[in-house]
């Protein structure tokens, strides 16, 4: 037998390559028909669980399928970051809501990356950032 299947190693390798190649970056300059597939962005509650994956992985599978069918597919991701849960958690843990939220974003980004989805991270949107909410 040639070699055993070693998912952590393989998955990390390809994720890094896809990202450095911008394999899933999309732009309007394409002769393919556009296709916008959107999954509801998660609240920055801290940790993704497999329930989040259940929303995101199949959505990514479909987006990938459409990509293979010749569409110019945008399948973006971001974070819903304002609101009471952040404020209440921050009060309870005695840290600033901004820090609490951005720490969570950091962790959830890492987790979301492991899904191996075609998210174009250059398009990430976070609602509590001034460059976003100035337009709200």
């Amino acid at each position: 037998m040639s070699e055993k299947y070693n998912p952590p190693e393989i998955e990390k390798k390809w994720r890094q390559k896809w990202e450095s190649d911008h394999l899933y970056a999309v732009s309007e300059n394409s002769d393919r028909p556009k296709r916008y597939e959107l999954t509801m962005f998660p609240y920055t509650s801290g940790n993704l669980h497999v329930g989040h994956w259940f929303a995101m992985a199949p959505a990514d599978v479909h987006a990938r399928f459409m990509r293979m069918n010749g569409y110019n597919v945008i399948h973006p991701i971001g974070f819903d970051a304002f609101g009471l849960p952040a404020e209440n958690a921050a009060i309870k843990q005695n840290i600033h809501p901004h820090k609490w939220t951005m720490d969570n974003v950091e962790n959830m980004r890492r987790q979301l990356r492991t899904i191996g989805a075609i998210y174009d991270w250059d398009r990430e949107v976070i609602t509590c950032q001034p460059d976003y909410y100035r337009w709200t």
Binding site: L38, M40, G51, G78, G83, I91, P97, D122
Partner: protein, 669 residues
């Protein structure tokens, strides 16, 4: 679109904060400190979402789940009926009438009293001196009730007579005016005509306080007996002057037309939907960009000065008032109009404001000259497929549609609907409960990814059940999927295989299954049916395993076609694994830039069966036919065979028995 108004809110005097209806318990106390909650009028910002009520009820051309459309329509709560005027001119006030909305104008002759909301401004004016004390006491008591409690149909009816009367213009009756908590000032006109014969709440009220119960809609075969409960169904109009004998459904229209002519009322539409209150007295939200100037009044912050930054150094612990109020550097500013000293709005925006247009920002996330680049919006929007939980059916999906329509009307968007197709996935269950952080039954994906790989977790989640239903999480299920993925790894990379050279029939079968599977997987993916898609791929891998075990597959074109198709079909589900295998068997990077495989219909459909042809029960011929063959076709085919013909010559055919997929037996004599 945005306006400022006074609105009653649930107020906890101890926490000094506004509470949502859901934060007030059934006993009318604050869920945090058990203090009785009162209703307090507060100046707040609103969005005029009601302007779009009718449009938001329409979902034309949208591929959405029916239940979401129904929930949104119910949320708007459009009802048709009539607005009817009751005369109070006898008191000599400026107000000569009380207007009510009703969906049952056909029952107007059955009005025996009127009810006003305790907050109705006419209550103070109309209350007679002898009733004053009781009325004031009751109004105070109502203020302490939450809206949920007030609207509860379960509880005992309460109310007081205010001493005044209104005249029903239809029949000249002077009916007493009461106040009761189940009429809310913020709904409709804040006044209700009470028809105890045909409205259960009014019936209970009348039964308790001794008002008349008048039958004006007769049920079928009604003999004039007293009602023991309100009759709310259609019937025949009675005690209704010239309308007597008319079916009540028809009467609705007739009575409305007549009232219109007489000037007593007119047809009207009422909505349950209320304007969207967007002010929040909390810290963690986007500041409302408004400034209060003593000279100029309320002035919006200039676009060039946006965003109004949320100061990080504010004391954010809830004190009841907006935390920003005590941040002097934030509050004190200059008026954008006159440059004089001014104060900032210190409430923040409802978080839904930020989360209901994010899908527009993705098109140009770094655009600095506006919320989005119009050219890019034109290219990417609207969203073709939106997936998410059904819990967002009303709030999020409703507000996002409202934003889209409002932005369209100021010329920023050129489409009417943001999400063309909506799909609600189901939920993952663990220990009989929806998986959630608050229930403490979450499964952390990090460890699973480290042990089994993301591809196995992805595949397992899609195999757990239909996507719209979800299913119960089970570690053994994941182990099973992980084994399957390992089998694919070995199937493709293992050099060892059988020794027989592939027979033409095997090759044919292989190609048939390859194309059949491509067709099935394509159609399932298209329809978001991931679990059956994976089942087809598993069946296909089993077949490939058997073929490889028996045969030397090396260099065989049908085998190569099958392997290539398998990887491409699996690429969306297991992107890492397939990329690795794709490279290892010598294809060029990346598999994710390949096209999805295409099936040949003839090969996909070529499922053949052996059809046995008998004459009088004796086997005379065996035919290879498509599995999809129909009865007539099979019978014709059997009779046209040369070998069969010889047995039929000079015989009369009595009957032909057909067993689908198996045989044709021709009975002759």
């Amino acid at each position: 679109m945005a306006y400022r108004a006074n609105a009653p809110a649930n107020w906890c005097p101890k926490c000094q904060t506004v509470l949502a209806n859901e934060q007030v318990t059934g006993e009318g106390v604050c869920e945090r400190c058990d203090t009785p909650v009162i209703r307090k009028d507060m100046e707040q910002w609103f969005f005029r979402i009601t302007k779009y009520a009718d449009e938001l009820m329409q979902h034309d051309g949208l591929d959405w789940p029916e239940r979401v459309k129904i929930m949104q329509r119910n949320w708007v709560g459009r009802s048709e009926g009539a607005e009817i005027s009751f005369d109070i001119s006898e008191y000599g006030f400026d107000e000569k009438e009380i207007r009510v909305f009703t969906t049952r104008p056909d029952t107007t002759f059955g009005v025996t009293f009127m009810v006003l909301a305790p907050e109705h401004p006419l209550v103070k004016k109309l209350t007679t001196p002898e009733c004053r004390e009781k009325v004031e006491e009751y109004v105070d008591w109502c203020r302490r009730q939450s809206e949920i409690e007030r609207l509860s149909t379960e509880k005992e009816k309460t109310g007081v007579f205010i001493g005044a009367y209104a005249t029903n213009r239809l029949n000249g009756d002077r009916v007493p005016i009461w106040i009761t908590d189940y009429v809310l000032f913020s709904y409709g006109t804040g006044a209700v005509m009470a028809v105890p014969g045909h409205d259960q709440r009014d019936f209970e009220m009348a039964a308790k306080f001794g008002m008349d119960i008048r039958v004006v809609i007769a049920p079928e075969e009604y003999n004039g007996e007293e009602f023991t409960e309100a009759y709310e169904e259609p019937g025949t109009m009675t005690n209704s002057a010239q309308f007597d004998g008319m079916p009540s459904e028809k009467g609705k229209k007739a009575i409305t037309e007549w009232m219109g002519k007489e000037g007593f009322g007119k047809g009207a539409i009422s909505y349950r939907l209320r304007d969207w209150l967007i002010s929040r007295q909390r810290y963690w939200g986007a500041p409302i960009p408004m400034v209060y100037c003593d000279k100029c009044g309320i002035v919006p912050v200039l676009e060039k000065d946006l965003p109004v930054l949320l100061p990080e150094d504010a004391e954010f612990k809830p004190t009841g008032e907006s935390p920003l109020k005590y941040h002097e550097a934030f509050v004190n500013t200059t008026c954008p109009q006159c440059g004089g000293p001014a104060r900032r709005e210190t409430d923040t925006l409802d978080t839904f404001m930020c989360s209901n247009w994010y899908f527009l920002r993705y098109a140009s996330p770094k655009y600095e000259d506006g919320p989005f680049d119009p050219e890019k919006i034109k290219y990417w929007l609207p969203v073709d497929l939106y997936t998410g939980g059904v819990e967002h059916a009303v709030m999020h999906l409703f507000y996002a549609r409202f934003f889209t329509k409002a932005l369209r009307d100021i010329g920023l968007l050129n489409f009417d609907e943001p999400f063309l197709k909506l799909f609600n996935q189901g939920t993952i269950i663990l220990n009989q409960q929806k998986m959630s952080k608050s229930r403490g039954n979450v499964v952390d994906p990090d460890d699973l990814v480290a042990e089994y790989g993301a591809d196995a977790v992805r595949a397992y989640l899609m195999f757990i059940g239909p996507w719209e239903q979800g299913g119960e999480w089970n570690d053994n299920g994941l182990v099973g999927l992980s084994r399957w993925i390992n089998r694919i790894w070995n199937l493709i990379l293992e050099k060892k295989s059988g020794t027989a050279s592939i027979a033409p029939e095997t090759e044919k079968e292989l190609r048939h299954h390859t194309h059949k599977t491509i067709k099935k997987v394509h159609n399932d993916l298209d329809a978001l049916q991931f679990n059956t898609m994976l089942a087809a791929l598993m069946e296909f891998t089993n077949l490939l395993g058997k073929v490889k075990e028996a045969n030397d597959v090396k260099g065989n074109a049908a085998w190569q076609e099958a392997i290539e198709a398998l990887l491409l079909m699996l690429a969306p589900t297991a992107p890492h694994l397939t990329e690795e295998l794709w490279e290892r068997i010598g294809y060029t990077y990346s598999i994710h830039n390949q096209s999805f495989p295409v099936w040949e219909e003839a090969l996909a459909a070529a499922d053949e069966i052996t059809l046995v042809v008998q004459v009088n029960g004796k086997v005379r011929e065996k035919l290879a036919v498509p599995a999809s063959i129909g009865e007539e076709e099979a019978k014709q085919l059997a009779q046209s065979q040369e070998k069969i013909k010889t047995h039929l010559d000079n015989h009369e055919i009595v009957k032909i028995i057909y067993v689908p997929g198996k045989l044709v037996n021709i009975v002759v004599k």
